[in-house]
């Protein structure tokens, strides 16, 4: 799994590539924790490169969401593949996270 972080204004854009599973999700959780420790509270997660996610990956996103909400930040997702979107729908996490087709839309939604 590859994680790339860029900043746009006060938004941390986290582009993830590869498979998020019980073996790799701790790496994602740690990266989220580092960003939170640096004071980031608005996140766009670009899922365009993610071709697999399991329940531990979902948990990593929920964990981040709960932490940013304390500081009134938010987590938005974009570029989610249809198979993965279905997993968010089945778990109703699509009601927790705003999900956008394009990264630019997700960034814009913070304004």
């Amino acid at each position: 799994m590859k994680i790339e972080v860029t900043k746009e204004n006060d938004i941390a854009i986290v582009a993830v590539e590869g498979e998020i599973d019980v073996e790799t999700s701790p790496q994602l959780r740690e990266r989220f924790d580092e960003l939170l420790a640096q004071g980031e509270h608005n996140f766009v997660i670009d899922m365009g490169g993610v071709d697999f996610i399991d329940s531990s990956g979902l948990a990593a996103f929920v964990r981040l969401f709960k932490r940013v909400r304390v500081g009134e930040g938010d987590v938005k997702l974009c570029c989610v593949r249809p198979e993965i979107l279905k997993i968010f729908e089945l778990t109703r996490l699509n009601r927790v996270f705003d999900i956008f087709e394009a990264r630019t839309e997700a960034v814009k939604s913070f304004q």
């Binding site: 073996e23 697999f52 329940s55 969401f65 198979e83 997993i87 778990t91 109703r92």
Partner: protein, 139 residues
């Protein structure tokens, strides 16, 4: 592989999950299962094996997990066998979907995505998970 049984043995380590996912994906794709079904099967295999590693074998890394698949027509039968602590379905509680949770989605996803799910604890040791997925039967 119509009607033939194919088997994969993995060890109870997290680094074996990719191998198990790729194996079921290859079998399902070869039999003409659509991408949605292939993804669902990969997820079911991954969640089931992760649960076995965590709960049945309690983290021991040298134990066996045996996966078997048999595809006949539109029906894919997958069995996942372990020899650890028996799975107790009565302990399973579905997640409260109106409250986002950091755990509890694994078995729920297996049950939602697969057409039939049965945990057989009758063997003297371990559990046999039997899963059926029908081709193109969207859930």
């Amino acid at each position: 592989m119509n009607g033939e049984k194919d088997t994969l043995l993995i060890k109870s380590r997290l680094d074996q999950l990719t191998k198990a996912r790729n194996w079921i994906a290859e079998k399902a794709q070869a039999a003409g299962f659509p991408p949605d079904d292939v993804f669902a099967l990969k997820l079911a295999v991954s969640e089931a094996c992760a649960n076995i590693i965590r709960h049945a074998y309690e983290g021991a890394e040298d134990k066996d997990i045996i996966l078997s698949v048999c595809i006949e027509g539109d029906k894919l039968l997958l069995t996942i066998r372990d020899f650890g602590k028996k799975f107790d379905l009565s302990c399973y509680k579905p997640p409260e979907l109106d409250r986002p949770s950091e755990s509890g989605y694994g078995i729920y996803l297996i049950m939602e995505l697969m057409d039939e799910v049965e945990y057989d604890t009758s063997p003297s040791k371990g559990t046999i998970l039997r899963i059926v997925k029908y081709k193109g039967k969207s859930r």
